[in-house]
Amino acid sequence: MKRSLLFIPANSPAMLQNADIFGADALIFDFEDAIHPLEKDAARDLLTHYLDRFKLNDMELIVRINDKTTPYYVDDLKRVVSLPVDTIMLPKTRYEDLIELDTLLHKLEKQSKREHPLSIIPIIEKAISLFEVEKIASHHRVTGLLLGGEDLATDLEVERSQEGTEILLARQMVIYASKAYQKDAIDTPFTDVSDQEGLIKDAMFAKSLGMTAKACIHPIQIDTIHDIFSPSEKQIAYAKRVLHAEQEANDKGLGVFSVDGKMIDKPIIERAKQVLKRVKP
């Protein structure tokens, strides 16, 4: 279970060198917005050498490629299938882009004899994508949806606000689609890295809506995001008691049981399982 996904510009040796020390659950090596057009090939080469030299364990490795309207799309994909990474992050995803990417990946993975197929995290950052978000979430390669708040606001021709009122519906649609297919609902990054209070408010609100993780653009944001998106000690203890009580009830052949005086039904058991899944070993 991911709580934090840290963007790392793939053309920065200093940032790559230290990418793994901050405890992020996932790293997003960026080929897209953070990389100047003249640096795209340098970013691909540097990331290739880096991943060839250093083994990064215990974290999901993601590459954000350039979208299919750019001249870098195919070269990015060709490179990514050869890398020891888990996931492609696709900007400005439409459902038709996803289908096309799946087909292309299928071919490239076969050619490169890649053992494990790449997963996809689509970025939902166009108004039109929100009308397809359920279909996008349902795709077999998709493991989560990332809401791209900044680009979406541009598409909506509105200013981003601290409260995020302008993206509330989008947040909820991404969450509903993700939950419907048991995928990760990943919240848009909070872009003011100097405002820890703002980050806390924003992340707590996103979590209260149902987001399960948050992307971040600076390592300084990771601990806060973990604090907010990890289950609390109290939640973990309760979840353990629920599952323990369920086991006891099963052993005794009881169909109905209670914890702390409250009847426990199936949704509570499922929630307890989800809480424990979110606890990092």
Binding site: Q17, N18, I21, F22, R53, F54, S194, H218, P219, I220
Partner: protein, 509 residues
């Protein structure tokens, strides 16, 4: 000059005492004290220029002149004295400033022409450091510690003919302090040994008043006052507000450091703590502050150079007292002027090994390093090429005194590993260093099996120093060993007066 090996295997001049272990000499010897030079009370003669002051003090070739460094990179007093030395073409002088900064560049030509031939100091960087490492100083550079300097002065080992004591405020009785006037610097802890033991003492001030509000320098020890328009540039004296780092790597190091100190059980009622003014050190203090607040812990004291951050902890009731040898910023200066439990300590009270110093009462000190090696020896004197970049200051003193000495550093900086097989220069012996915290792992000195045992079940990334070095080399490659080929230019003197390492002219210069 013949060289012999000290107990750490470093070559040192055979006419000096070789280092034998952190407490071997202190255990064997008693405190040596020369008589204090007391002049008595009453009005002091006031001069208004350096020329007449030199005449009155009868300053001649071969004398030893001392200074303190509370005015730091804003100091004008040492430079005024240098100008007069130049004018009079004095020769073979020994200078004993407690630290030398870039502002002291006018010293360079006087080193080159033989006016200044020997220097005792605790810290040197900038152009003077460059001139010395290039071999221009005809005699020796002796790098002391903040505690070692008062030991050398009070024992008569470092005999000072004239102490020029920059004093932000003084009165006609020779009483002085650092918290009044336009050139405030706070406490004056490093000036006290000079005030007590120099043969002649002159307070150099730009703020002469009828009565000072606070007496930190006792007029009974003062021979003369020199009243001049300005003793320094406040911008260089006061560094504004010192702040915790925002660098994510250093924040990670700081967080792990605070966590480590907490897991070892040191953060408890009566906690006694010291850390530096650097961004990482302040971030450690910030994390420790959170832990103390959360656990409602009140510490006994924080000590050393005092920053606004430690002042805020004191004012919030987290530390009962502040023991301050040097104020690092404006807020610390203000606090020293108003908070009754913000107390000055002299350099001797701070770190003199024979004076039951405050450092010996410390539970924890957090220090930096330019290099650290597999034996946990630390270098803060030179860089990896042998260039002079600083000096011990209180590093070796606090490392010796504290129950837990933690070194924090990035594992790599500018493509170089900060861990070495052998440090270029030993400033602080590994036997007094307990833990290294880097962003990629924490190494515990094998001498501290008690700490290793306590952290057996910790989730912190604890590993051997050798493994951390391997991680660094995986990134940087293995560097070619540097060889010392230049002539001997100085020594690093441990706090007990023994020589822990030697300094060499930079190769190829």
């Amino acid at each position: 000059m013949n060289m012999i090996k000290n107990s750490l295997g470093r070559l040192v001049p055979d006419d000096m005492i070789p280092f034998q272990g952190a407490d071997q000499i202190i255990k064997k010897n008693k405190r040596q004290l020369i008589d204090e030079i007391i002049v008595g009370g009453g009005n002091k003669p006031v001069e208004t220029d350096m020329s007449s002051l030199f005449d009155k003090l009868n300053i001649q070739d071969g004398m030893t002149l001392s200074f303190h460094h509370h005015l730091r990179n804003g100091d004008a007093v040492l430079n005024m004295v240098l100008a007069e030395i130049k004018k009079r073409k004095l020769k073979n002088l020994t200078l004993a400033p407690s630290a030398i900064f870039p502002v002291h560049e006018p010293m360079v030509p006087l080193i080159k022409n033989g006016s200044i031939t020997t220097i005792y100091t605790n810290y040197v960087n900038g152009p003077v450091a460059q001139a010395i490492e290039q071999g221009f100083l005809k005699g020796m550079l002796v790098m002391d510690t903040h505690g070692g300097r008062p030991r050398a002065i009070e024992s008569g080992e470092l005999k000072i003919d004239v102490a020029f004591i920059a004093t932000p405020a003084c009165d006609r009785y020779g009483h002085g302090n650092g918290v009044e006037g336009p050139s405030q610097c706070g406490t004056l802890g490093y000036a006290i040994p000079d005030l007590l033991y120099a043969k002649q003492k002159v307070l150099v001030t730009d703020h002469l008043v009828d009565r000072v509000k606070k007496i930190d320098l006792d007029g009974r020890y003062v021979h003369m006052i020199c009243h001049i328009p300005s003793i320094g540039n406040p911008e260089g004296i006061q560094s504004g507000t010192t702040k915790p780092t925002r660098d994510p790597i250093q924040l990670r190091i700081a967080k792990n450091t605070a966590q480590l100190i907490s897991e070892l059980g040191y953060i408890k009622k009566g906690f006694r703590f010291q850390t530096g003014a650097g961004g990482t050190s302040l971030a450690v203090a910030q994390d420790i502050k959170h832990i103390m607040k959360e656990k409602k812990i009140v510490g006994a004291f924080a000590s050393g150079g005092i920053t606004n951050f430690l002042v805020s902890m004191h004012e919030e009731g987290l530390f009962e007292k502040l023991y301050d040898v040097q104020c690092f910023d404006l807020e610390a200066i203000k606090s020293y002027g108003k908070n009754k439990n913000h107390l000055m300590m002299s350099a001797s009270e701070y770190g003199n090994p024979y004076a039951k110093p405050i450092v010996n009462d410390l539970d924890v000190v957090v220090l930096g390093a330019t290099e650290i090696d597999l034996d946990f020896h630390v270098n803060v004197t030179t860089d990896s090429f042998g260039h002079l970049i600083g000096g011990s200051g209180g590093h070796a003193d606090t490392a010796y005194g504290a129950k837990l000495t933690v070194i924090t550093t990035n594992l790599m900086k500018s493509r170089l590993s900060m861990i070495k097989e052998h440090v270029t220069t030993i400033t602080t012996p590994g036997e007094t260093v307990d833990v290294l915290v880097t962003e990629r792992g924490i190494a515990i000195n094998p001498r501290r099996q008690d700490l290793i045992d306590k952290l057996k079940h910790s989730k912190l990334p604890i590993m051997k120093m050798e493994d951390l070095l391997k991680i660094a080399y995986d990134f940087t490659g293995v560097p070619k060993p540097m060889t010392q080929e230049g002539r001997l230019i100085g020594v690093v003197r441990y706090r007990d007066g023994s020589i822990i390492d030697s300094l060499y002219q930079i190769k190829g210069v």
